[in-house]
Amino acid sequence: GIDCQGGSRMCCRREFFVDFREIGWHDWIIQPEGYAMNFCTGQCPLHVAGMPGLSASFHTAVLNLLKANAAAGTTGGGSCCVPTARRPLSLLYYDRDSNIVKTDIPDMVVEACGCS
């Protein structure tokens, strides 16, 4: 995955931090103080599209063939800049009844992006 730099228009990961104090949630979320959400943005030209996380192999060759056929038959191709790796977010918070709860929410932090 590539991190966005400058005016890059290609698919990349843009860092985005949600400060719980800034959104007024620091009173009920005890830890952490914020959340590195991050997101994927940018264009995915057809020649960049691939199966995220797939190394060069027989399967890549087959996929490229399919893409080439799709390009010949349709317009657009449907490739999209999407998260290819995520990690969980651990939260310590007060619930409705003021109990302190510790939980791990899966797939919250975007670690890498790629073209689908």
Partner: protein, 218 residues
């Protein structure tokens, strides 16, 4: 759900101005957290608890022993792991470089350093293999001879070696170099693996209150 002219939602980045984009993302983050916690709205606290009271409660939960420890020893320990970068190597010696961040090196005390590495011995090698680990002294010091450690390797697999004060000090300075030298003929045909899943590493136990502790002891 975003209505855009682009082929997929992630292409909208270019079509929104920065402020709208920011508000949209914050809204998305809030909805995502509430949704995953199965909450329709953020909880409203009728009796907010002060941070100090919360800290005390958490300390008590961990038991009196922990509380005593915190009172008498305010230092905090954690472990930093640095994976090796292989430098100039030959059949007779493997050079490993370890880098530690400034946060680790910034005056904190490294209390223990362990080298962990994977050795692959040929299938016909049955005897033990002696391995010498050198910690070269930093340039500019009066002492020129390196610090040495010896280790017996009895088979293929992961091995670990507790490094001495020189290596600990090097970790504290931010950079540690080690040289692994096999000592016997059989050892020369062994391989110290460095691939993705077998990369050697150093685990350093660091004390966050190192400087304070040193001052107190003096």
């Amino acid at each position: 759900i975003l209505q855009t002219a682009g082929p997929c939602p992630s292409c909208w980045g270019a079509t929104f101005d920065l402020e709208s984009q920011r508000e949209l993302l914050l809204d998305l983050a809030k909805k995502s957290i509430l949704n995953k916690l199965h909450l329709s709205q953020r909880p409203t606290l009728s009796r907010p608890v002060s941070r100090a009271a919360l800290k005390t409660a958490l300390q008590r939960l961990r038991g009196p022993r922990w509380e005593t420890l915190l009172e008498h020893d305010p230092t905090q320990e954690y472990e930093v792991i640095s994976f090796a970068e292989t430098g100039l190597s030959s059949i007779n010696r493997t050079r490993l470089d370890f880098h530690f961040s400034n946060r680790t090196a910034g005056g904190r005390e490294v209390r223990q350093a362990r080298l962990v590495f994977f050795v692959h011995l040929p299938s016909n090698a049955t005897q033990t293999v002696n391995m010498q680990v050198l910690v070269p002294r930093p340039r500019g010091t009066n002492l020129t001879s390196p610090s040495q450690h010896r280790l017996q390797v009895e088979g293929s697999g992961w091995h670990q070696l507790l490094l001495g004060p020189e290596a600990q000090a090097a970790c504290g300075r931010g950079h540690l170099t080690l040289e692994l030298i096999p000592e016997s003929q059989a050892a020369h045909s062994s391989v110290i693996l460095g691939g993705f899943s077998h990369r050697p590493f150093v685990a350093a136990r660091v004390s966050a209150g190192g400087q304070h502790r040193v001052r107190r002891h003096r």
